[in-house]
């Protein structure tokens, strides 16, 4: 079983608002003083792959694939320490996150994946920076593989996979042939926490660095969207009315106030 997990580095979404500085002339966001992190959604994807590996009788190999202008090994180390077996990164000046749309991203990823053996490709629901949520389905389209989105759990059995796919009022069990593309949902949960020993060992794991030429991609597909401009949203701070008294009195006062203001 060979699993490819696509992961993106993004500026820490938990960073303070003013860390997302807007450069009006370039139309790009320039993060200030916040480190890059693995996109949380991609951490869900890796966790899903690790759970498959945990129960695979013959074991499973997990390759983490990342593309970008420059990819920090220090950030990717977290994925290797958590249990991924190797890192494949494709770096090129043209692969800057703010310039690539989902279509270009999927094309680049598909070109790399075509060079790798795989049974499953797992991606996150969306990237934590641009939230487009189109790359997983794009990979299925470009590689001609079935795609199952909103996956909260996967079981591999007899050459097929069964996926628990999230619905509004529960989930459905979807059967798909292998190879397939799975889009992990946030319901998968947090990426496991590596031990100190795993962290140390992760530094010895193979890292392959390729350029666009190595994957046989001379040009990127033309954009399907144009970003006209970006701006900082108006921060709607509200005047908070603090209800006084002991906690119990304040609780009671809150309800009475909400009632008086016709909120309930």
């Amino acid at each position: 079983m060979h699993i490819i997990v696509c992961m993106k580095q993004v500026p820490d979404p938990e960073g303070p608002r003013d860390a997302f500085e807007i450069n009006q002339s370039s139309g790009m966001v320039e993060p200030r003083g916040i480190p890059p992190v693995l996109s949380l959604f991609d951490e869900n994807a890796l966790e899903m792959a690790l759970r498959i590996k945990d129960v695979s009788p013959g074991g499973a190999k997990i390759s983490v694939l990342s593309i970008g202008k420059r990819i920090s090994n220090a950030v990717m180390l977290k994925a290797l320490a958590a249990g991924a077996d190797e890192l494949v990164k494709v770096e090129d000046g043209s692969l800057e996150a703010g310039l690539l749309d989902s279509f270009a991203t999927a094309h680049v990823l598909a070109a790399v994946i075509n060079k790798l053996p795989y049974d499953l490709i797992i991606v996150g629901r969306q990237a934590a920076d641009f939230n487009d949520g189109q790359v997983g389905i794009g990979l299925g389209h470009l590689l001609d593989r079935p795609v199952v989105t909103l996956a909260q759990a996967v079981v591999v059995r007899d050459g097929d996979i069964r996926i628990e796919r999230v619905l509004a009022n529960g989930y459905e069990v979807v059967k798909a042939p292998i190879p397939a593309v799975i889009v992990a949902s946030n319901e998968v949960g947090e990426l496991r926490y590596p031990t100190m020993i795993q962290r140390r060992e992760a530094k010895q794991k193979p890292v392959h660095t390729w350029g666009l030429k190595d994957i046989g991609l001379a040009t990127l597909p033309s954009a399907r969207l144009r970003r006209k401009r970006i701006y900082a949203p108006e921060l709607k701070l509200r005047q908070c009315r603090i209800l006084g008294g002991t906690p119990a009195e304040a609780g009671r006062n809150l309800v009475l106030q909400l009632k008086e203001d016709r909120m309930i």
């Binding site: 938990e14 966001v29 989902s102 389209h141 999230v166 042939p177 949960g189 401009r229 209800l243 309800v255």
Partner: protein, 347 residues
């Protein structure tokens, strides 16, 4: 009003569309023969775009035998055309089949812009269709900007810290709309819209995906997406049992129960209740945040709420900056009193 003029030209579907026409197609979800509650919001956005582009508005309804039950409801919103695609395999949502069905409507209607809600279904269907039609897709839009006939769509990026204005470069262009970002359109008294049934050939294919079973969970609970009131707990709740207190308060209020990310990651409550950038984005009338500090990622999911109440023992917590009402105190002392008082005044 668009669509209400009796002399408005009706056109047979096989007629070739003039290239100058800029028609808008909206895909509306249905549930058991009824329109999805978000349909009126998608229709509002659709009308807005149609009016600006001076085009017509068409609706796609896709489903099983009960789908035709929704047609009259759609026509009450006064649209130009309603496409109805009915097939047993479309009884419940299946990405590959729905994409084929909607693709069929697009080939007939040749729309300039296709709109749908960014729901569990829309987030699967829109990218599938975009790749099939080689169309650009702008997802999770919260606003529309129009100037000189150029239409742009605005969406939050970087967990809501930045807004981006996008112009599609393809025809058609696909747009998904964030729930609760657009005011619902009101239905009119005069139903209007030509009904166009489209037939489609579908068969189960072994090389693709098949749904083997449906598992229904917590069907009594109020769904976050449609809730008018939400009670949400954060890391400050501290344990699984703490959510029982919140549940009692939510029940007394007729509210849905939600959570920020930590309680979901820590297993105190189902991950399906997660509200925020990495969970569901909600905008109820009343949002009560308990033991939630107010991280960027959580705020991104609930700032659209009309009234926000914060209950937190830390008076400096970020959540108070975005709240309308606040109680500083330990939730275990505050929440039971709220529940009790609610029961007193509501009954």
């Amino acid at each position: 009003m668009l669509g209400l003029l009796p002399e408005y030209s009706r056109r047979h579907k096989s007629e070739v569309l003039m290239p100058t026409e800029k028609n808008i197609l909206v895909f509306l979800e249905t549930e058991r023969g009824a329109l999805h509650p978000l349909a009126a919001e998608v229709l509002r956005a659709g009308k807005q775009v149609a009016q600006e582009l001076k085009g017509e508005l068409a609706v796609a309804l896709i489903g099983g035998a009960t789908i035709s039950d929704t047609v009259d409801h759609v026509r009450q919103y006064g649209v130009d055309r309603v496409y109805v695609v009915e097939h047993p395999l479309l009884e419940s949502y299946h990405g590959e089949y729905f994409c084929r069905a909607l693709g069929e409507v697009c080939r007939t209607e040749t729309p300039t812009v296709i709109l749908m809600a960014n729901t569990l279904i829309g987030s699967d269907l829109a990218p599938r269709l975009a790749w099939d039609l080689e169309a650009g897709l702008i997802s999770d839009c919260v606003d529309i900007e129009m100037s000189n006939g150029e239409i742009a769509f605005i969406k939050p990026i970087y967990s809501g810290n930045v807004m981006a204005v996008y112009v599609p470069l393809t025809t058609p262009a696909l747009i998904t709309l964030r729930p609760r970002a657009f005011a619902p359109l009101s239905a009119s008294d005069i139903p209007y819209g030509e009904i166009i049934p489209l037939s489609i050939t579908l068969s189960q294919e072994s090389d693709r995906t098949t749904v083997e079973e449906w598992i229904e969970e917590d069907s009594d609970d109020i769904k976050l997406g449609s809730a008018q009131r939400i009670v949400a707990g954060g890391r400050g709740i501290g344990k699984t049992e703490g959510f029982e207190l919140l549940k009692s308060m939510a029940d007394a209020l007729g509210a849905a129960i939600g959570a920020s990310r930590p309680p979901c990651d820590l297993g105190w409550i189902s991950p399906k209740t997660q509200i925020g950038q990495t969970g569901e984005i909600v905008a109820p009338e009343l949002y009560i945040a308990v033991g939630i500090s107010g991280s960027t990622q959580h705020l991104a999911g609930m700032l659209g709420s009309k009234t926000i109440v914060a209950i937190n023992k830390d008076s400096q917590a970020n959540i108070f900056k975005v709240a309308d009402y606040g109680v500083v105190g330990n939730y275990e002392e505050v929440v039971p009193v709220i529940t009790e008082t609610l029961r007193e005044i509501i009954t």
